[in-house]
Amino acid sequence: MKPARFAYQRAATTEHVLEALHRSGGEARVIAGGQSLVPMLNMRLARPALLVDIMHVAALSHVDDDGARLTIGAGVRQRDLEMRHDTAARQPLLAMALPWLGHVQTRSRGTVCGSIAHADPSAELPLVLTALRGEVHLRSRRRARRLPAEAFFTGMMVTARAEDELIEAVSVPAVRPGTGYAFREISRRHGDFAIAAFAAVADEKELRLAIGGVAETPKARVLPTDQGLDDALDTFAWNLEARDDLHASARYRRELVRRIGREVVLAAIRDREARALKEAT
């Protein structure tokens, strides 16, 4: 299990990265933490001609918080975000999900944007990004654009990123008063990819549930809070077109959507109430 040959370039600026992606004609790949990419290199599933290392680009290594949004640069490691003193206060759903990503030994290297770029449908960060209506900030030499999560994830490990585009950052709305959050994941072992993962956001306007691990991309739905919830979850469960695999049947996944989906939604509502109480006092 050794990678095929590739060249390597350690970029110092975003421009270097964009230039390399532009010149390579789709043969270059960005390497950040490498925790998703290197296994594929070792198995020779991925055979890029050039790896562009972005971890020494200072401009990409920040978390920006403008009060309304958290913008997480491409060089920010998962563990760094997890250990930041204010992550839980600024975006609770992120803080809830981060400990579920792989293991501390992979979070220490893996980046937030790297997980988004990899777009595994069972991964936690694409789910969180979808649940929060986050955005992916793409930049190439030609243009800069932002895509909502649901437009970015187009299939299993397939995204709307063009080959010359760099995911410069992802951004999510910061916590808003009157909003509750909940996260839960069902997997064979802790740290495994999810059989089904759930992220719910409840505010005064709507109740939104996103589910990962079932369809080919994370999917979100706005659900009713009244007695129509169970029917809506059932419809959601069928719409996800779950499939059987080694670890779980499609039927089991639908059952989790109905049962755990309901629990997570209720947990988000409870969280909203608890936060409201705290804000009031």
């Binding site: 299990m1 050794k2 990678p3 095929a4 040959r5 590739f6 060249a7 390597y8 370039q9 350690r10 970029a11 110092a12 600026t13 421009e15 270097h16 230039e19 390399a20 390497i31 490498g34 925790q35 290197v38 296994p39 290199l41 070792n42 198995m43 001609a49 050039l50 790896l51 290392d53 971890m55 563990r79 792989g102 293991h103 501390v104 030994q105 992979t106 220490s108 290297r109 072992r189 802790h190 740290g191």
Partner: protein
């Protein structure tokens, strides 16, 4: 900030890689595709770090990169250029004096074949440094990034708890 694009390290060539290994300067040459564990073991001769899966799951190859536990098998040697690397060879206080963590493993039979042990030690060493008051749940959480087929983990957890205790009360060790 340099406007000159950094050099591309050619695919088929070997390039110098230098970093600090257990507090000393170390260096050698590697193709860009060479994995860090191969560089440590076969270029630098530091064979204490073992290889178990090469896809980031078993944890046998865990080393510390800039203080944090990480999979050597998911790291390219060229990525580690300039980094601070620590491996199992750097844990003992002296050739004949094991660290408190190593001693605890010995006292509690925290190893059998010893193949996965170096990686486990590197994770626990980082944990005990970062969180000296950690309890069994945190220890098991950290250990869940490692596979051990011999011990059933129970003696490893006991060893880690004992080491945490010994480090909190140094004279007790």
């Amino acid at each position: 900030m340099s406007r000159q694009a950094p050099a591309v390290l050619d695919a088929g060539q070997r390039h110098p890689v230098r970093f600090t290994l257990n507090g000393r300067k170390a260096g050698g040459e590697a193709e860009p595709r060479m994995l860090l564990h191969d560089f440590l073991r076969h270029v630098l001769g530091a064979t204490g770090t073992h290889v178990g899966c090469e896809h980031g799951i078993c944890g046998a190859c865990t080393v510390q990169i800039d203080g944090a536990p990480a999979r050597a098998c998911l790291t390219l040697a060229v990525q580690a250029d300039g980094a601070e690397i620590r491996t199992v060879e750097g844990l003992a206080l002296a050739p004949d004096r094991l660290s408190a963590l190593q001693e605890a493993f010995r006292a509690h039979h925290g190893l059998q074949c010893g193949f996965c042990t170096p990686g486990i030690l590197m994770s626990l060493d980082a944990l005990l440094r970062e969180r000296p008051d950690c309890g069994e749940a945190e220890i098991r959480e950290t250990l869940s990034g490692h596979l051990c087929r011999c011990t059933g983990y129970t003696p490893i957890v006991k060893a880690a708890l004992a080491a945490a205790e010994a480090l909190r009360v140094p004279h007790h060790a």
